[in-house]
Amino acid sequence: MSEVIIDVGKRHIKEVNEEIQEACKAGKKIVVANTLSRHNLGVGLPKGADISFQGSVGYYCGGLNNGATINIERNAGWGTGEAMAEGYITVDGYAGMSCGAAMLGGTIHVKGDAGPRCGVAMKGGNIVVEGKIGYQSGFMAHAGKIIALGGAGESCADALWEGEVWVAGEVDSLGVDVKVIEPTAEEVAEVDAILDPLGLVDNSRNWRKMISGQRLWYFESRDANAWLMI
């Protein structure tokens, strides 16, 4: 696979993204240099694309990913991989707020920490964070798994639907309507199957699996006692 280097600098992002799309069509491996934390880089990339950002990126990098393999060699701003359908995104550093927001499928792997609301309203796929996930991560996650190896911030897994939040470290506080359960061996095996390709399996972990307590699912706004839960 031949390689093409695309320079960002102060160029218009639309122009850079058009060049990236052309390189995808030509089946080239893409290296994006001089990224300068610019926003909206590599949005809507197609299946089979292989792209590496040599530096930090801004907001929405890899958003609407449709099957590409994306590597960000430093930090990523807000909304990394937002609404992605499939593919892989690896962030070598830190990912800002709302990483993987509303994603439908695929895997996001963050080697550092992830900011608040990681996986907010996600509808499928997996987010693996080697560090800590921020405030209110997993908020209203409809499906999919958020797996945090380093811990979780305040209000973790608030108002979950059918999503799951797995934390191996400390949890600062739980959100509303969360149930913490002891996972079964089969469930741990499922998580290990996600971690295995990333070389992150460790059998000594003490997992806490968070799922919905389901009280909010049938919330009756006229019930004063129910409000006290919040």
Partner: protein
């Protein structure tokens, strides 16, 4: 969705130029108006004053009235007013005045002509320059790139809570405290509750901008004896809304952030210097190498950075 920025240099330098760059990179966050609070080399005598008259037709009348009020407070011009005008109706002015006998009383009296004229900053080193238009437009009109200083704040405004008016631009001066300025990104949801309380205490609001409320709220807390750090901490639990604001004083810059962690702040701190902004790509404009950034992403966060590596008293 406004954009804010802060910059601290090790020694007096082109802080105006850096703030213009920080705000130019964030112009997409709000191009209604742009403003800068720049802390220059402090003057030994008097206050540097920046003001705005709302209609240049009244310039002579405004200045005559302004001068009369100055005299009533045992003050006068140490440096004659200079005026900046363009096609817009308003005009801006810069002058140096002798210390009034009582700064707060003088400010109160000057505010009585506020339907025509507004003092926008007053300090030994602080100068607030703000106007409608983009960072580049405001910089060119007011010569911001050439302003020398140690630190400062910047703001790009997307008007959400009040009109697009030159005086509703940020930064806001924490009147009547000299040399205190704030910039804010967010919405204060209990604005009218606090405004009402503060107005009953005698504070005067010159706009309906919720950021002005933070400046006056901070003034009130400091008047009650709180330090900058204490006031920042208290604001997080007292003021309702989603916000990240930065406050500057001659000895440093601080920030506070709401309990919901909705408004970002990213910094690079290197060699006693600071570049802070709403977006990482903005701080890269002034510190372009891949230095590590610190994301202040969590809820209820606050921090103060001192100028020249000095600690600010807690």
């Amino acid at each position: 969705m406004c954009g804010i920025a802060g910059r601290i240099l090790q020694a007096p330098g082109k802080v105006g130029r850096d703030l213009v760059e920080l705000m130019d990179a964030q112009e997409h966050r709000g191009a209604d108006s742009t403003g800068f609070a720049i802390y220059g080399i402090p003057i030994d005598e008097g206050y540097i004053l920046r003001g705005m008259g709302f209609n240049k037709v009244n310039l002579d009348k405004d200045m005559a009235e302004f001068h009369a009020i100055l005299k009533e407070h045992d003050s006068d011009f140490l440096e004659e007013p200079k005026f900046i005008q363009d096609d817009n109706a308003h005009y801006c002015t810069r002058m140096v005045i002798k210390d009034p006998k009582d700064l707060s009383r003088w400010v109160m009296d000057i505010d009585n002509i506020s339907d025509r004229f507004e003092v926008q900053s007053c300090g030994r080193s602080l100068e607030i320059v703000k106007d409608i238009g983009s960072s580049e437009e405001v910089a060119q009109k007011h010569g911001v790139r050439d302003m020398i200083g140690t630190h400062g704040l910047g703001h790009a405004r997307l008007a959400t809570e009040s009109s697009v008016l030159p005086n509703a631009s940020h930064p806001f001066w924490a009147r009547p405290f000299s040399d205190v300025a704030i910039v804010h990104n967010g919405q204060i949801t209990d604005y009218y509750t606090w405004r009402d309380k503060l107005m009953r205490q005698g504070y005067r609001f010159l706009t309906y901008n919720d950021s002005e409320l933070i400046a006056i709220w901070i003034s009130d807390q400091m008047k009650q004896g709180l330090t900058m750090q204490q006031a920042l901490e208290k604001s997080i639990s007292s003021i309702d809304g989603v916000f990240t604001y930065m406050i500057a004083q001659p000895n440093g810059i601080g920030f506070a952030k709401d309990r919901f962690a909705m408004k970002p702040l990213v910094t690079i701190q290197e060699n006693g210097e600071l570049a802070a902004a709403t977006e990482e790509q903005a701080v890269r404009r002034v510190i372009s190498e891949e230095a590590d950034v610190i994301n202040y992403d969590g809820p209820s966060m606050m921090k103060i950075w001192g100028v020249g590596n000095k600690k600010v008293a807690a």
